[in-house]
Amino acid sequence: MDSILSLLPKIYNPVDYDAFSVIQTIFWFIAAAISFYFSFKIARLWTSISVGFFLIFWSQAYMLNPYAHSYNKMAAIHYVIGAIAILVISHGFQEYYIFTRTLEITGRKYLVYLTTIGVIAVASVLITINPKPTLQVLRNYKIMENSIWFFLAMLNIFMVWKIFNELRDSFVAKGVLCFAIVFFFIVLWKGSELYLQIYQWDKDWMDIIDFSGEATDAAKYATRINVAQIINRYSALMSGISVAGAFSYLFKLLR
């Protein structure tokens, strides 16, 4: 057994596991499983949305693997996958809204899968041919991901509301409205993390200044940092639970 383990890549920076992250990832897994199953069984327009939620799980789960902090390029790729996830989800909701206004359904499921794989491949190539990301660069990737998530999630709440208004008297309307709750938690989750990052009160920044010796004002704002961290932890958990719940409810409605 030891001889096999010695063949595996070296873990440079072990991952700290906390129960919260594990539980959260389990819920994302349930959401991903349902949404992926959903994308096979249901109308084409749900494919983008389902694939997007599956990618969230993928990027979350990656951060739990023992090598997550050891290979910076792979970590960067997964931050980009996280950003692609919300882009694909938003695209899906925009298509849904267009459907409610034009009643047109265009495109093919396989095109959604292929395009998503293609975009991820291009992003991976770009990251691979560039220098190895430092901790600062990785943090920048994270800020980029959180910014995209935060603003698109807010936009999606508006989009879901508009879709709901068009479908208000249809059977599926409440199921669609559930996604407004999902995006509400996502806004809190990503927004609180972005807040901490912008003011350099996030854990990654603290790790960086441990080496650089730079000063921080975190102690001065301990309460608000604490509140933001609590919001971040619970809203992340609630995002996973609400996605799993929304897809389960939608599945029940459309079955």
Binding site: I42, L103, S170
Partner: protein, 321 residues
């Protein structure tokens, strides 16, 4: 041999027992229909020819007897329809040009009658049709085979023959018939002045609803072509239109019931895809419509409700037929 070309089918081999003649003819009238409705009866065929929704000719061809035209033909068809409820009904849509050429076939002036092909200069006949820009129908036939060529303004616009009655653009098969032993030719021509707009609409001459109801009430009484209702009472011709609108309204309500407010526009969109509301009475078109509705409905409700909606729509259409 009596052959009729087939266009886009609106109905095929529907039992005449299910046909309410005034309703069916009303639909054609209200939809600017170009084409014909054919009643295949036990020993005869009745054909109602429409151009832009106007009934411009009725043709009745009994087996082994001379054909009848227009009001006589309508009367004969109705009598036979009432007496023989085991016939079949078909309707085919054509372009206006072909429908006009069909008129030449039914009641065009016969300028060549059963001429043997080998005794005429066929090339000269074709040149004459072209030079005089005739609207004509050529029938080339033997005892066992027959083919038709339709001309509009001297140019051929369609060919059909007994083994493939769809109108096509190939004359090969008809050339084969023309060289068969004993092949003959009929040429019928419609005068230039008789374009679609100037032809009399037989609907205006006869109150078909009245003739139909009289015929049904007493099948052994010879019906006469009742004159059309006076303007004050033309409301009697309206039920067909009302029924068609009623069906559309019923289907729209079904779509609304199962899909909500998007149900109605979704139904209209799918109806447009199948070529309009008239097509819904053709079983294949109805299924095409329901399949299209299912695709859009998957984003609005569940499969069980979609099935219920489809069944409800089928019931509505069946009730209408």
């Amino acid at each position: 041999m009596f052959i009729l070309p087939k266009g886009t089918p609106l109905a095929e081999n529907v039992p005449t027992s299910r046909i309410d003649l005034p309703v069916v003819l009303g639909k054609f009238r209200n939809s600017n229909f170009n084409g014909y409705a054919k009643f295949g009866l036990s020993a005869a065929t009745g054909v109602f020819l429409y151009i832009e929704g106007r009934l411009i000719s009725v043709f009745f061809q009994p087996e082994g007897n001379n054909s009848r035209q227009d009001l006589d033909a309508m009367q004969a068809t109705i009598e036979n329809l009432v007496l023989n409820r085991d016939g079949d009904f078909s309707a085919y849509r054509f372009s206006k040009e072909i429908a006009f050429a069909l008129l030449a076939m039914f009641r065009g002036e016969l300028i060549l009658n059963a001429q043997e092909m080998k005794l005429i200069d066929f090339k000269a006949v074709l040149e004459k049709i072209k030079a005089e820009r005739m609207n004509a129908c050529l029938k080339i036939y033997t005892e066992n085979r027959a083919g038709l060529i339709f001309y509009r303004d001297g140019a051929p616009i369609g060919f059909c023959h007994d083994s493939a009655q769809e109108i096509g653009l190939s004359q090969t098969e008809i050339q084969k018939i023309a060289v068969l032993p004993g092949a003959r030719i009929d040429v019928r021509v419609i005068k230039d002045s008789e374009d679609g707009a100037t032809l009399v609409d037989l609907n205006d001459l006869v109150d078909i609803s009245k003739v139909w109801s009289v015929a049904k009430e007493n099948v052994f009484t010879t019906v006469s072509a009742a004159p059309a209702a006076s303007p004050a009472t033309t409301i009697s011709a309206e039920p067909a239109k009302t029924d068609l609108a009623g069906l559309q309204s019923d289907l729209s309500n079904v779509a609304f019931k199962y899909l909500g407010k998007l149900g109605r526009p979704l139904l209209e969109k799918e109806l447009a895809k199948i070529g309009g509301f008239e097509g819904i009475l053709v079983p294949e078109k109805l299924e095409e419509l329901l399949a299209g509705l299912e695709n859009g409905s998957k984003l609005l409700t569940n499969l069980a409700k979609i099935r219920q909606m489809q069944d409800a729509m089928r019931d509505e259409v069946a009730r209408y037929r």
